[in-house]
C-alpha cells in the first residue's frame, strides 16, 4: 500500500505551538507555507470531539490585520463585498474581497472596534491581501499592520466549548453574542475573543500575543478540550458546507456562483468588482456551487468529474467521508441547469462512475 508523504517539509512559517505539536506526535504538513498539524490521533476521533464536546485548533496561520486611522472604514468598504459601514462596535462580519472581474481574492472576517477595524484573512492569501490593500489605499489616512507574526490564534469549537472556556478570560465567552467579539484579557494581558468558527459548531476564537499561546493551549487542554488538526477542521467545515479558499473559492469564481450572494451588498455603494458582479449576476453560463451526496463510501477527491448521461456537468472541489453523517459527501461546481437539489449525476472516482445526488447545503446543521 502506498502511504503517501507524511514527512514534514521545511517550510517558511511555524506557529508558536509548533514544538508542542511535534512533541505530542502530530503529523505535520505544509499548509500555505506553514508547518501545521494535520492530525494528532485520528481525523474521525478529532472530528467527533468537536461535534460532541469541544475541540481545540491552532489556527495561528490565519492572517491577522489591523486597521488604524480615520479612513479605515473607507478602505475596507472599497475592497469588501459586505457592508462594514453598518457594523456595530464589537461586531464581526463575513465577506469577500474581489478582483475587478468579480473573482474572489479572499474570504475574510471584518471586526469593528471602538478604535478601529481588524480583518482575519486566509493564510494562503495574507501577503496578497496586504499588497492589495496597499495598492488601493490611495490618499487615505489609514495604516494597515500585519499582526500575524507576533500574535497567535486558537479556536475552541463544539457544543461544550463555552462551558470549557468559562471564566478563562476576563469577559466570559458565553456573554458574547454570535459573530461578536470582546477585547478582554487573558491572565492580565490583552486578548480578543470572538464567537466565531469554521466547524459548524458554537465556539470561540482567541487572538493574543504569541508569548501566551502555550499557556492558553495547555490550560484549554486541562479544561478538557481535545487538540484537533487541520484534517478534522476540513471534514468539519465540509459537513457545514463552508467554502475553503483554493477549493470552492478562487480568482476565477465569483461570490454569487459560490452561493455567497448574501455577503454581497449591492446598496452599500461602489466596491471593487461590483460592476463585474452586476454583469455576472444573471449569467446562466456560470457554474454553481452544489453539494453532492455519493452512494457508497468512496471519497470524491478534488478534480473528479461530475457527469450525467455522458455530459460533463462540472468538477468536485472538495470531498470527504462525513463522519457525523456516515456518508461520502462533496462540494462541486456544476452547470447552472444541473444544480437543483434532487438531480442525479455520476462522479468519476478513479475511472469508475459513482452515483450521486445534488443535495441542499449545508450537509450538517447543528442541533439548537
Amino acid at each position: 500500500v502506498a502511504l503517501g508523504n507524511w514527512e514534514s517539509i521545511a517550510v517558511a512559517f511555524r506557529t508558536p505551538l509548533y514544538d508542542w505539536h511535534v512533541a505530542h506526535g502530530a503529523r505535520m504538513v505544509d499548509f500555505a507555507g506553514w508547518d501545521m498539524p494535520i492530525q494528532y490521533t485520528s481525523i474521525i476521533e478529532e472530528h467527533q470531539a468537536v461535534r460532541t464536546d469541544a475541540g481545540l485548533f491552532d489556527i495561528s496561520h490565519m492572517g491577522r490585520l489591523s486597521f488604524a486611522g480615520p479612513d479605515s472604514l473607507s478602505l475596507i468598504q472599497q475592497v469588501y463585498t459586505n457592508n462594514a459601514g453598518t457594523l456595530k462596535d464589537f461586531q464581526v462580519r463575513y465577506g469577500l474581497i474581489c478582483n475587478a472581474a468579480g473573482g474572489i481574492r479572499d474570504d475574510v472576517l471584518v471586526y469593528r472596534w471602538p478604535y478601529g477595524y481588524a480583518m482575519v484573512v486566509n493564510a494562503s492569501n495574507r501577503e496578497k491581501i496586504v499588497a492589495w490593500l496597499a495598492e488601493h489605499k490611495g490618499a487615505r489616512s489609514v495604516e494597515v499592520s500585519d499582526r500575524t507574526p507576533e500574535t497567535c490564534m486558537v479556536a475552541v469549537q463544539g457544543p461544550r466549548a463555552l462551558e470549557r472556556c468559562r471564566s478563562l478570560t476576563a469577559a466570559d465567552g458565553s456573554q458574547i453574542p454570535y459573530y461578536h467579539a470582546a477585547a478582554t484579557t487573558y491572565r492580565g494581558k490583552p486578548c480578543i475573543v470572538s464567537r466565531t468558527g469554521y466547524t459548524g459548531e458554537d465556539g470561540l476564537e482567541f487572538m493574543l500575543s504569541s508569548g501566551q499561546a502555550l499557556e492558553l493551549w495547555e490550560e484549554l487542554i486541562a479544561r478538557g478540550a481535545k487538540p484537533c488538526g487541520l484534517g478534522a477542521r476540513d471534514t468539519l467545515r465540509l459537513e457545514a458546507a463552508m467554502p475553503l479558499y483554493g477549493h470552492e473559492l478562487g480568482e476565477e469564481i465569483d461570490p454569487l456562483q459560490a452561493g455567497l450572494g448574501w455577503a454581497v451588498k449591492w446598496d452599500k455603494g461602489d466596491f471593487l468588482g461590483r460592476e463585474a458582479l452586476v454583469r455576472r449576476k444573471n449569467d446562466p453560463s456560470l457554474p454553481q456551487r452544489v453539494g453532492l451526496e455519493l452512494e457508497g463510501k468512496r471519497i470524491a477527491r478534488e478534480g473528479a468529474a461530475v457527469t450525467r448521461d455522458g455530459r460533463t456537468l462540472g468538477r468536485v472541489t472538495s470531498g470527504t467521508f462525513a463522519p457525523t453523517l456516515g456518508k461520502s459527501i462533496a462540494m462541486a461546481y456544476v452547470a447552472a441547469d444541473a444544480a437543483a437539489p434532487g438531480s442525479g449525476c455520476e462522479v468519476d472516482i478513479r475511472g469508475k462512475g459513482v452515483s450521486a445526488q445534488v443535495v441542499s447545503l449545508p450537509f450538517y446543521r447543528r442541533p439548537r
Binding site: A2, S42, R298
Partner: protein
C-alpha cells in the same frame, strides 16, 4: 497471525505462505499511517494477481492508496467482512484484517520479501 512469522513488502503488505496458499494483509505500521480507513476494494475470487501490481484499493479520509500483491497467482478467497466494516483492518491487521488468499503459482516463494527484522529497519528509516 504472529508478525514474526510473516514476510513484508516494501509497500507495507504482509504475506504468509502455507503450501500454495498465500494470505495477504497490510502491516500495523501501514494501518497507523493511514488512519481513518473508510473503504476497501478487493478483487474477485478467480481474478489473477501479479507480484508488485495492484490488487485493490484502500481509502482513508486523507487519501486513496493502491494495495500491491506480493506474489503471482489466482484469488481463492477475499475477506468479505472488510467490505462492510473496513475498521477491522485497523483493529486486527494480522488477524481479522486479512485481505485476500492467493493460490500461488507453482514454485513461488516469499524469499524476495523482508523478514520482520528487515521490515522494522525500513519503517525506522521512514519514521524520522
Amino acid at each position: 497471525m504472529d508478525p514474526k512469522t510473516l514476510r513484508y513488502a516494501p509497500t507495507h503488505e504482509w504475506a504468509k505462505l502455507d503450501g500454495a496458499e498465500c494470505t495477504v494483509g497490510i502491516s500495523q505500521f501501514a494501518v497507523e499511517q493511514l488512519t481513518d480507513i473508510v473503504y476497501i476494494e478487493l478483487p474477485e475470487v478467480g481474478d489473477h494477481v501479479f507480484s508488485g501490481e495492484s490488487f485493490g484499493e484502500i481509502e482513508s479520509v486523507k487519501a486513496v492508496s493502491d494495495l500491491y500483491s506480493p506474489i503471482n497467482g489466482e484469488i481463492t478467497a477475499i475477506n468479505e467482512k472488510l467490505l462492510d466494516d473496513p475498521t477491522r483492518i485497523a483493529t486486527d491487521p494480522y488477524g481479522k484484517g486479512w485481505m485476500i488468499k492467493i493460490k500461488a503459482e507453482p514454485g513461488s516463494t516469499l524469499d524476495h520479501l523482508m523478514t520482520l527484522e528487515g521490515y522494522e529497519k525500513q519503517i525506522a528509516s521512514e519514521e524520522h
